[in-house]
């Protein structure tokens, strides 16, 4: 079975140059270059947006309660800081306990600087998201992200299996991970498809907050100006809640998955991660 047309076996001297006899690896192209680049650019952009967002939040917390009888505090996030400084060893002498969370997760702490950074990063974030979408279309990668009807059944089964992992460990029963013929398994598809949507909703709710009068129809779509702030707040948590297991699972899954997001190719020719 001769597969190579440029074989030089006829003169019998340079067989080592013949690709058909050199060791080869079967690879598939997994991520378009624009998808890979924008994926990595999302990391600093989203981090900066969250840090400056926390700082902006500190100047007008969404979630507030009646003033505390002793401290006069109304901010639940400040309560967290007060509690931490009261209970965590080493924090007892923190100079400003209500500001602990903001001091550690909000950057920059200046309101005007945080606003400027947030605007700067969000314009870049929107540009980045647009290029990501372009990469999905050019590389055809969007096909693998689209949910399908079978995901309801298969995704539930997977979720149940994950829920049973600890039980399986206890009874020492091995539970093989289902193998997928598609690029992603149903739960990956759900979460990877949800991220661009969450990004879009975060941008839209942000604009609803930023221009609630000129874009009042947009604010109305989120339930009004005040509710758009609540959407924006919880969408931030969607990113955080996605990122933690995303990073852990990618590291557990092995080098091939990580490498494919750097270089584009993967040796998993038979579908998605095991």
């Amino acid at each position: 079975m001769e597969t190579s047309s440029d074989s030089v076996a006829a003169d019998g001297t340079v067989a080592s140059l013949d690709v058909s006899v050199q060791p080869t690896r079967a690879v598939v192209w997994r991520h378009h270059v624009l998808v890979r680049w924008t994926h990595w650019l999302t990391v600093p952009l989203l981090l900066g947006l969250i840090l400056s967002g926390v700082s902006i939040y500190s100047f007008g917390p969404v979630y507030q309660h009646a003033p505390d009888a002793i401290t006069g505090n109304t901010d639940y996030v400040a309560d967290v800081g007060i509690w931490l400084c009261a209970h965590v060893p080493g924090l007892h002498h923190y100079r400003d306990p209500p500001a602990w969370v903001y001091d550690h997760f909000g950057r920059p702490r200046s309101f005007t600087a945080a606003l400027r950074l947030h605007w700067l990063l969000v314009y870049l974030f929107m540009l980045n998201g647009t290029v990501y979408m372009l990469g999905l279309v050019l590389g055809g990668g969007y096909r693998a992200l689209l949910p399908r009807l079978s995901d309801i059944r298969d995704g539930s089964a997977m979720a149940l299996q994950y829920a049973g992992v600890i039980f399986a460990k206890i009874v020492r029963r091995s539970r093989p991970h289902p193998h997928e013929a598609t690029k992603y398994n149903p739960l990956q598809r759900l979460s990877y498809c949800a991220m661009p949507l969450a990004g879009l909703l975060a941008i839209l709710s942000g604009w609803a907050m930023h221009k609630p009068m000129q874009l009042h129809w947009l604010a109305t779509m989120f339930g009004g100006y005040d509710d758009a702030r609540i959407w924006h707040f919880w969408l931030t948590w969607v990113f955080v809640i996605f990122t933690v297991p995303h990073v852990i699972l990618i590291l557990l899954d092995g080098w091939d998955t990580m490498r494919s997001m750097f270089f584009g190719w993967s040796e998993r020719t038979g579908g998605g991660p095991r």
Partner: protein, 284 residues
């Protein structure tokens, strides 16, 4: 070999479009390419080089912006994003677009936002509004009774949005800024109004005048009013007695209380929060 992908010669490792014969939404197995180690390494080198170039460019630009620029130049650069965002806001603004209005049952509590506390109300009896930069060349001085007599007082229930994030729905009554502009026209090429309150005080009770810039297209908007009343009663000192600006298409910080002077100008005037690093335009 039945699979097309298996037939690909080495050296064909490039981004490829996943085409599908089953429609534009169907996922099909990707094309499998057989490549040599050398080709894979060459591919990785190409990609690494691109990352390196991109990363170096970002690092150089970021490093220059962070360490290479003097502090004033750096803050000017960051201020550029405010200018850009203001340009976006100006492009979005339409003088015909009305902001949402509400019913009296939707009115909410309104915070008092005088930073140094409300000023001593002793200014109220002698209060006058002075208009400068008029076409007539004269300065006009008006009492609150002059304003109430000369202009139609209209109700307006709109949302006030603070730069901090909170908002409140308030019932105001006042005259349209646009009608004041018609009665006392500014100089012909005026583009701006500077609204000042000489009665504001700082936390120590010392005089600390407040001033905002308002572009005339915003001043002429049908819902930009000079309010004399809230909840159907004359304004209290905490909410800007006897006359304050209500411009719901601007952030709350532009809605200046206890206006004592309005000056029209061709050049953009100073703005209290604009001077402190916030946007100068504040259109929302």
């Amino acid at each position: 070999m039945s699979d097309d992908g298996e037939q690909k010669p080495a050296g064909a490792l490039t981004d490829r479009h996943q085409r599908s014969s089953r429609g534009i939404f169907s996922e099909e197995p990707p094309a499998i390419v057989r490549v040599t180690e050398a080709e894979l390494r060459a591919c990785n080198r190409r990609e690494l080089l691109k990352y390196g170039l991109g990363g170096a460019a970002v690092a150089a630009l970021g490093g220059y912006a962070t360490f290479g620029l003097s502090k004033p130049r750096r803050s000017k650069l960051l201020a550029g994003i405010l200018t850009f965002d203001d340009d976006v806001a100006k492009a979005m603004y339409s003088p015909e677009r009305l902001v949402p209005t509400y019913t009296k049952s939707e009115v909410t509590n309104l915070r008092v936002t005088y930073f140094g506390g409300a000023p001593d109300p002793s200014y109220i009896p002698g209060w006058r509004l002075t208009l400068r930069g008029l076409r007539s060349g004269r300065a006009e001085t008006l009492t609150i009774d002059d304003l109430r007599r000369q202009f139609i007082i209209r109700d307006q229930i709109t949302r006030l949005v603070c730069v901090d994030g909170w908002s409140a729905i308030a019932w105001w009554s006042g005259l349209r800024f646009n009608e004041l502009l018609h009665a006392y026209p500014p100089t012909d090429n005026a583009k701006w109004a500077k609204l000042e309150s000489s009665v504001s005080t700082d936390g120590m009770g010392h005089s600390d005048p407040y001033f905002v810039s308002i572009d005339l297209p915003t001043a002429r908007h049908a819902q930009t009013i000079l309010a004399t009343q809230r909840n159907g009663l004359p304004l209290t000192v905490e909410h800007g007695a006897p006359l304050r600006l209500v411009a719901p298409m601007k952030l709350g910080l532009k809605n200046i209380k206890a206006i004592t002077e309005i000056t029209y100008s061709v050049e953009e005037p100073q703005d209290f929060w604009g001077n402190l690093g916030f946007s100068h335009y504040d259109g929302i």
